[in-house]
Symmetry: C2
Subunit: 208 residues, 2 copies
Amino acid sequence: MNQEFASSLLEGAVTELSRLPGIGRKTALRLALHILRSDESAGVALGEAIIKMRRGVRYCRKCHNISETDLCPLCADPRRDSRTVCVVESVKDVMSFENTGQFNGVYHVLGGVIAPMEGIGPEMLEIESLVARVAAGDIDEVILALSATLEGETTNFYIFRRLAPYADVRITQLARGVSVGNEIEYTDEVTLGRSLLNRTLFSDSIKR
Amino acid sequence: MNQEFASSLLEGAVTELSRLPGIGRKTALRLALHILRSDESAGVALGEAIIKMRRGVRYCRKCHNISETDLCPLCADPRRDSRTVCVVESVKDVMSFENTGQFNGVYHVLGGVIAPMEGIGPEMLEIESLVARVAAGDIDEVILALSATLEGETTNFYIFRRLAPYADVRITQLARGVSVGNEIEYTDEVTLGRSLLNRTLFSDSIKR
């Protein structure tokens, strides 16, 4: 698309906006024109929020979650159980687990999963730092909470093998089963098989 | 959605991004995390481009197209025919007509169309300033180039009536007909009827 812009400033903003994922030049133009129609203060606030975030946000030294301080609020919170570590793929997954309200431990953000097809090997992820945390003797349980995909399972297995020398540490993974709200008819057979093998006491589910 | 953000800076950026049209909180979070993963310079460039655009872009005194100067580049260009004015709904439409490469006149951007259902009356559009341009005797032809919708046709008719006193000015509108590339089978009957009534000499189409 070759568009004639009446303003190089508009063109500049459209170019930058269209670098964002899922935002093409047409959408970027629509967004830019919306910003131009809104109050000047709103447009400036958007730009400043982006700059402040990009400059201010760092990663937690311990769990690699985003943070504005050396240690993230979760790692720094003395009320959380620092001996139970939930291993997740991304910062977004930390938010997802926090939203469940069911977890009071801490996290370890890998920054992805092993995906040879995309050229992502274990050395590109925060796996060594996880092994170091475990080796330091600070951890009782590692919960592998990666996606139930081939890449996720591969990464789970890789981490499991790397942590094998530390026999005192319990390594668990998320339960596999029928998603809450899903119908049996539309649940795939692998999931159904796992959900049968890992069946739980009905009385336990009533207590919760 | 109640999400726990590890960083108020991230939360601020997500809030601002989610004010954009078509961008919900989930998408805003995805965009913000993408910005965090990219180079710091890229994130800062995006923010600065938005601020610069919002602060620097004004509207052309004459045609109300966006501009960085008092007169937009199109109105200021002496090679363009300033006596032929194409009346469009938005800045985007100016770009669309410029992209055709078929127009060498100037524009008048209304800023919308009359839409009583949305509370948009003629006084909220740049119609008076169009009448003033015509009244000043600077214009030979006004091309009504609004959408072929009920609102567009209403606005066309309103402008036509307002310009009636200026009998020397030719008032034209875009041709209605079968869109190029469209099949007759899928063209609505109103369009087909208009395309029959306004049929053109085949020999004319060969010359172009």
